[in-house]
């Protein structure tokens, strides 16, 4: 095990890995500040550029840019009252009040330091949990892996949207779409409709970009606005920033508590960053003196959600790497990126590539810290990115999508499918169908079929009666039904 720790440490200091991170961080910071581009869309935009990279280099590029994107969201939340992502919404309540009171630098310093510490906390948890989980996970056979994969899709589909039934439709549609092309057991092409392109099935990059990038580009083109009006951007004082960073250490107990809350929520598949930030905010409010002043510009109201938000991502990586079940919607996209670079996270991945998993945890920690530091240094300049109007930004992003898609596999048909999946993405977004669930179903669909076929051959139709399988099914059902426990109890009472 010590060997894996040392090997992981050595791997992240490879020049190619450091160069990928150095290249990704500024991209992530700019993308994070751009209007309307969420972390999951940023990952979709950047995945085509990882083609041809070594697995660790490609994943370092994506993880570093993703860590930086979330820092940008905090900046716009504090300065403009516009959260870059939903998970930044809790920061708006006190952060924007502080900015209005002329303490923008103070709030930003605190947010960036809290993010860095939260990120480090989450990654430390990941590093501790991965080796502990390995022996448990190695006892899983194909039936358990089959149920785990199904549970992962169900978690994302049911828990991370307001419409569970539509989430389940999206998840099952994703699985169905992954079954086009050659059958993994019999080798017969399915539903290819005479198109050579479909012999290998649909491809991940056109699907991801169509589902996530096209709807955001369309929205940007339609509104044409920037998030900041001319003259509305607050000036950031460097001195205030230092004071804000020091405030995190004055409230160290709350910072660690919020980080722990964020990490634990992150480990729960499908619950996500928004829950983590609001739970941490509520906990900070409950335990603080004068809780009624929260929402009026308390620095604790910035520190708690920011620490929880970044700690949550480290926690979300635990089930993603160990079980192949994404802890959040963005992790579903990252799971797709693993496939693009030729890796399949899950029990086998941990057994074969523990050093790589640990290296990713180190990268995550380093990227969080570096992104906070870089954002702090460049914040005065980078904040002007928020003035770029959507009508200029949208066509540039669209061109990047088209060229990135073509460059990934040198296929013009892929570009055509980006537009087709774009129509699907817009419809799903407008009608509240869970797009990450579709993507995850697509990513895991082939694996689910393989585990199903192997389980059937090895254990017969009663493969679900194995004790570990039953335990997984029961735990998954309890987790899925827990939010609706009151309705279930009242229905039970009526009987």
């Amino acid at each position: 095990m010590l060997e894996a720790f040392l090997s992981a440490g050595g791997q992240i200091f490879q020049p190619a890995v450091l160069a990928a991170m150095a290249f990704a961080l500024p991209i992530g910071l700019i993308v994070g500040l751009l209007p309307g581009i969420s972390g999951i869309s940023a990952l979709a935009f950047l995945i085509p550029f990882t083609f041809g990279m070594q697995p660790l280099v490609g994943l370092a590029f994506l993880l570093a840019s993703y860590a930086a994107v979330s820092q940008g969201g905090s900046m716009t939340a504090i300065l403009l009252g516009v959260p870059g992502e939903v998970s930044n919404a809790a920061t708006v309540m006190d952060g924007h009040k502080l900015a209005k009171a002329g303490k923008a630098g103070y709030a930003i310093g605190a947010a960036l330091m809290a993010s860095a510490i939260g990120g480090l906390f989450g990654c430390a948890l990941l590093i501790i949990l991965l080796p502990i989980m390995q022996p448990v996970i190695l006892s899983f056979a194909s039936p358990e892996n089959f149920f785990l994969s199904l549970a992962g899709i169900a978690f994302i589909a049911v828990l991370s949207s307001g419409a569970p039934s539509r989430g389940l439709i999206a998840g099952s549609l994703g699985i169905f779409m992954s079954l086009f092309g050659y059958d993994p057991i019999e080798g017969v092409p399915r539903f290819w409709m005479g198109s050579e392109y479909l012999l290998d099935g649909f491809r991940l990059i056109p699907l991801a970009l169509g589902l996530f990038a096209i709807p955001e580009i369309l929205a940007l083109m339609s509104s044409g606005k920037s998030i900041a009006r001319q003259g509305s951007v607050e000036q950031i004082s460097f001195r205030q920033g230092i004071e804000g960073a020091l405030a995190v250490f004055r409230h160290w107990g709350m910072t660690l508590r919020s980080s722990a809350l964020g990490s634990v929520i992150g480990v729960m598949p499908g619950v996500g960053g928004t829950t983590a930030t609001f739970v941490a905010y509520a906990a900070a409010r409950q335990t603080a003196a004068n809780p009624e002043t929260f929402g009026q510009g308390r620095i604790e109201g910035v520190i708690a959600p920011e620490a929880a938000k970044n700690a949550e991502e480290g926690g979300a990586l635990v089930p993603t790497l160990a079980l192949g079940i994404p802890g959040s919607a963005s992790m579903a996209m990252l799971l797709g990126a693993f496939l693009v670079v030729g890796l399949q996270p899950g029990p086998e991945f941990l057994a074969k590539h523990m050093d790589l998993a640990l290296a990713l945890a180190y990268i995550c920690a380093l990227a969080n810290f570096a992104a906070s530091f870089l954002m702090f240094l460049l914040s005065r300049t980078l904040v002007y990115v928020t003035r770029v109007p959507g009508r200029v930004l949208a066509p540039i992003l669209l061109v990047f999508v088209v060229i990135g898609t073509y460059a990934a596999q040198n296929s013009a048909t892929d570009v055509l499918y980006v537009f087709i999946f774009g129509v699907l993405g817009v419809a799903m977004e407008r009608l509240n169908y869970n797009r990450p669930a579709l993507l995850l179903g697509f990513v895991l669909g082939e694996t689910i079929e393989r585990y199903f076929q192997v389980s059937l051959k090895a254990y017969g139709w009663l493969f679900f009666m194995r004790p570990v399988s039953i335990a997984i099914i029961v735990i998954a059902l309890v987790c899925l039904l827990w939010p609706s426990r009151r309705q279930i109890a009242s229905l039970w009472g009526r009987r």
């Binding site: 307001g162 039934s165 169905f176 369309l218 339609s222 460059a407």
Partner: protein, 146 residues
């Protein structure tokens, strides 16, 4: 909105059910080949039927705050997105995007200076970065000539 909300799952149902029926009949897949898609597709179709029934009965899903604040889309923006496909088909992957950016930005109120600068930057990125530096095989000639 209810009609559109019912239409989407109905369309999904028809497409998936159609593919499954074709798999059994026209395409003649054996049971081991079609069994898993049949299971996945049947579950999806059942969920779609339930969703259509719920929508017609007036059940509306709880929406999250992010989804309530969606920007209304305009038909012109939809047309502009698909127009890039036309430019790429007509002029290739190097000149097509540059011409698209120039035309789009001018048509949407940007100055000549900005439009030309961004168009030129696009040429620099596609030809300079992708083709010359990254050695990506982007077709320089129009797609209809390939």
């Amino acid at each position: 909105m209810t009609r559109v909300e019912a239409l989407f799952p109905s369309l999904l149902f028809m497409i998936v059910a159609g593919l499954l029926v074709a798999g059994f009949t026209v395409l003649g897949y054996s049971w081991p080949v079609i069994a898993f898609p049949f299971g996945a597709g049947a579950i999806m179709c059942a969920l779609c039927v339930v969703e259509v029934a719920r929508t017609i009965a007036g059940h509306r899903p709880r929406t999250l705050s992010e989804e309530e604040e969606l920007e209304p889309l305009t038909w012109s923006s939809v047309a502009w997105v698909f127009a890039l496909g036309g430019f790429v088909y007509g002029l290739g992957f190097v000149f097509g995007p540059a011409a698209y950016l120039l035309v789009y930005l001018r048509a949407n109120g940007s100055s000549w200076r900005l439009s030309i600068a961004i168009g030129a930057a696009s040429l620099l990125v596609t030809w300079g970065l992708f083709i010359k530096v990254l050695r990506v095989l982007l077709p320089t000639q129009p797609l209809w000539m390939l």
